[in-house]
């Protein structure tokens, strides 16, 4: 089984975050993406590969060119990853509120 890379490690890198924000504006070819950076084409290709493996980007063949799009499913995973943590605190705070309401009415 091929180990899938960690999405959160993928977005921890500033270059990869810039790639995501560029692609979010419009689908881009690797060449067009590389023009935005001072790094070599290979370095950018490596970053694109990691983002694709993490399902944050997806490829689309358009004639002779490959365009990269944002993969909305993968991006949704990032948006949702805080939810269980938020829910945990929300539950605790609900309990706090109910407990203190009872406590107030008692005293």
């Amino acid at each position: 089984m091929k180990l899938r890379r960690d999405v959160f490690q993928a977005i921890a890198d500033p270059t990869r975050r810039t790639i995501i924000s560029l692609v979010a504006l419009q689908a881009m070819t690797p060449t067009a993406l590389a023009e935005n950076f001072d790094y070599s084409r290979q370095t950018i290709s490596k970053h694109i590969q990691i983002l694709t493996e993490c399902e944050l980007l997806k490829q689309e063949q358009n004639g002779r060119e490959i365009y990269y799009h944002l993969n909305s499913e993968g991006m949704k995973e990032i948006a949702n990853f805080i939810e269980p943590f938020r829910k945990m605190w929300d539950d605790r705070f609900d309990k706090l509120e109910n407990l203190m309401k009872d406590h107030q009415s008692e005293s």
Partner: protein, 155 residues
């Protein structure tokens, strides 16, 4: 519906902001953090230590009905300003994560409403994300054990 508890976790930052509005006077909200019994109740945990004073320590843990350690955290209170602020350190030793620094601000909105902001600072952005992912793995376990405990007492 608007979410009552809000979390702000910007990408690549080593901090986290939790905010929550309560239908409680600020004094009541602060008391829920100050009083040992009350704190243990809403946090749903056992308190082994709880010295609510500057540089006092606290230690809590949660065990499954079978006695397995599921959750444990410890730390120290640093500064305390009644009904305004609690500064504390916190470390979840079960996860082998480094300690974090927490600034809790309590503010009255009206006489019957208050707001809490928890500003947490982590050793690194990676450590923060590790912590954020924890409920993914422990959340299901905790819910399962809680259900088990309820079912056992209702037999």
């Amino acid at each position: 519906m608007e979410q009552k508890t809000k979390i702000k976790a910007e990408e690549g930052k080593q901090e986290l902001l939790i905010t929550r509005e309560f239908n409680l006077p600020v004094e009541s909200l602060y008391k829920a953090y100050k009083d040992k019994e009350l704190f243990a109740k809403w946090m749903g945990t056992n308190l082994l230590d709880f010295e609510f004073k500057e540089y006092g320590k606290y230690h809590f843990e949660t065990r499954s009905p079978t006695g397995d350690l599921m959750f444990s955290g410890k730390g120290a209170f640093h500064s305390l300003i009644p009904n305004k602020m609690i500064v504390r350190t916190f470390e979840m030793d079960v996860f082998s994560l480094p300690p974090q620094l927490e600034f809790l601000n309590f503010k009255a909105i009206t006489g019957e409403k208050s707001i809490l902001t928890m500003h947490i600072i982590f050793k690194s952005a990676e450590i923060r994300n590790e912590l954020l992912k924890k409920p993914f793995t422990i959340g299901f376990d905790l819910a399962h054990h809680r259900l088990e405990a309820i079912m056992n007492t209702n037999k």
